[in-house]
């Protein structure tokens, strides 16, 4: 059943308004976890505050190539995922710590809580790290993650995605998000993807296929740029869309 017809999942109900929901009815886990009182505004400008700084000692060998972390190669479609990390003015953010984690090609995480009956891959841990370069670029080589069921509602499936965690330069440039793949047929059914209410903002979560990032005879390339906002606007990161 598409999301809009479901009594449980309500991504495009206009009564929810255009803003990102803190308590989003379609995503059941939000109900008892999202703060239910208004957030308090601090007197200081948090954007002026520097955030934590990470160096190369935060990285291990093969942290950016998820296909080289074991004896053999992981099963699945090897891909390149790359992009630039910039601030809202388009300035590159060098030295930003980027951490990723994902399911394997069969849609299974190497995590004890994941009970999806798809095989684990002994050659895939599904975790990576890197620091952005002088131009704010990052680059990972994983395999394309599989879709998987997640029990939020009847026949609920997550579209294929890679989790990203980023530290920018300032305290408020902290972001945890998910990257999706272009053209995924599961988009209309996924309450997490649709918890971003503005369709233009939602599209920013979708990577694009990039022939230039594609390694010939080796791996398809996907380009995904990340904009770290100034914060200070609660949970509505797109109020200033022109």
């Amino acid at each position: 059943m598409p999301v809009e017809d479901s009594p449980i999942v309500l991504p495009d109900d206009p009564s929810l308004g255009p803003e990102v929901q803190v308590d989003y009815p379609g995503y059941r886990s939000t109900r008892w976890r999202a703060p239910d009182r208004p957030l308090v505004t601090l007197p200081e400008d948090l954007h002026e505050l520097d955030g934590p700084v990470f160096g190369v000692d935060a990285l291990g060998e093969n942290d950016a190539d998820l296909t080289l972390q074991h004896e053999g190669e992981p099963l699945g479609e090897r891909i390149v995922v790359t992009g630039r990390v910039v601030d809202e003015d388009g300035r590159p953010l060098p030295g930003a710590l980027v951490e990723v984690w994902q399911a394997n090609a069969g849609g299974r995480y190497r995590h004890e809580v994941d009970r999806h009956p798809a095989p684990l891959d002994p050659n895939f841990s599904g975790a990576g790290r890197c620091l952005t370069d002088e131009e704010g670029r990052y680059r990972f080589v994983p395999v394309k993650p599989g879709a998987y069921p997640w029990g939020n509602h009847e026949n609920a499936w997550r579209p294929a995605h890679i989790h990203f965690s980023l530290f920018g330069r300032t305290f408020t440039q902290r972001l945890v998000t998910q990257m999706y793949f272009p053209g995924d047929p599961l988009f209309p059914y996924d309450p997490i993807f649709n918890s971003v209410r503005d369709p233009r903002s939602r599209e920013l979560l979708v990577a694009r296929f990039d022939l230039d990032a594609t390694a010939p005879e080796w791996a398809l390339g996907f380009q995904w740029d990340i904009v770290l906002g100034r914060g200070g606007r609660g949970t509505t990161p797109f109020e200033e869309v022109a």
Partner: protein, 157 residues
């Protein structure tokens, strides 16, 4: 031209494979143990949450996943040099949070400084109490409640 920020998405239940591969919970050597429990609106422990603590005065940062009892653990030192009473910034991440939440932990032995802190003094006594750790043996205890009568104060960020 201002670019539209990339939206936040939940950290989900499996973050530990990517974010907790190494121990990052010691901000100081020979510091103070800071422990606590993360609760949801029904009073249940959140066993798949993650806490990050940041001392903006020194740049020290730490991270702790919650365990099977919803508990987290850090070793911290009291920040010095910033305006207001000494405090650490605390980010809360969890499955079910579309974006991480910001709170603060203040120190219970800083009675005078806490009394004139601009953030604490702008809150009512019950809300203020949610931001001040309590002594716990040699260490400090700081429980976080996402909702309910004892809900922790969270800040716009």
């Amino acid at each position: 031209m201002t670019l539209v920020p990339t939206p936040s998405q939940t950290v989900g239940p499996f973050y530990s494979i990517g974010l907790c591969r190494r121990r990052d919970d010691e901000l100081a050597t020979n510091g103070i143990a800071l422990t606590g429990q993360l609760h949801d609106g029904q009073g249940h422990p959140i066993v798949d949450g993650m806490i990050e603590v940041f001392d903006a005065s020194s740049g020290r940062w730490g991270r702790s996943g919650t365990d099977g009892s919803g508990r987290f653990h850090f070793v911290v030192s009291k920040p010095v040099g910033r305006a207001g009473a000494p405090h650490l910034d605390v980010f809360v991440f969890a499955r079910g949070l579309l974006r991480h939440q910001l709170t603060r932990v203040y120190f219970p032995d800083e009675t005078d400084a806490n009394a004139v802190d601009p953030v604490l003094s702008a809150l009512g006594p019950d809300d203020r109490a949610t931001l001040v750790a309590r002594p716990d043996g040699d260490g400090l205890r700081f429980d976080i409640h996402m909702q309910g009568d004892h809900a922790t104060v969270f800040f716009v960020h």
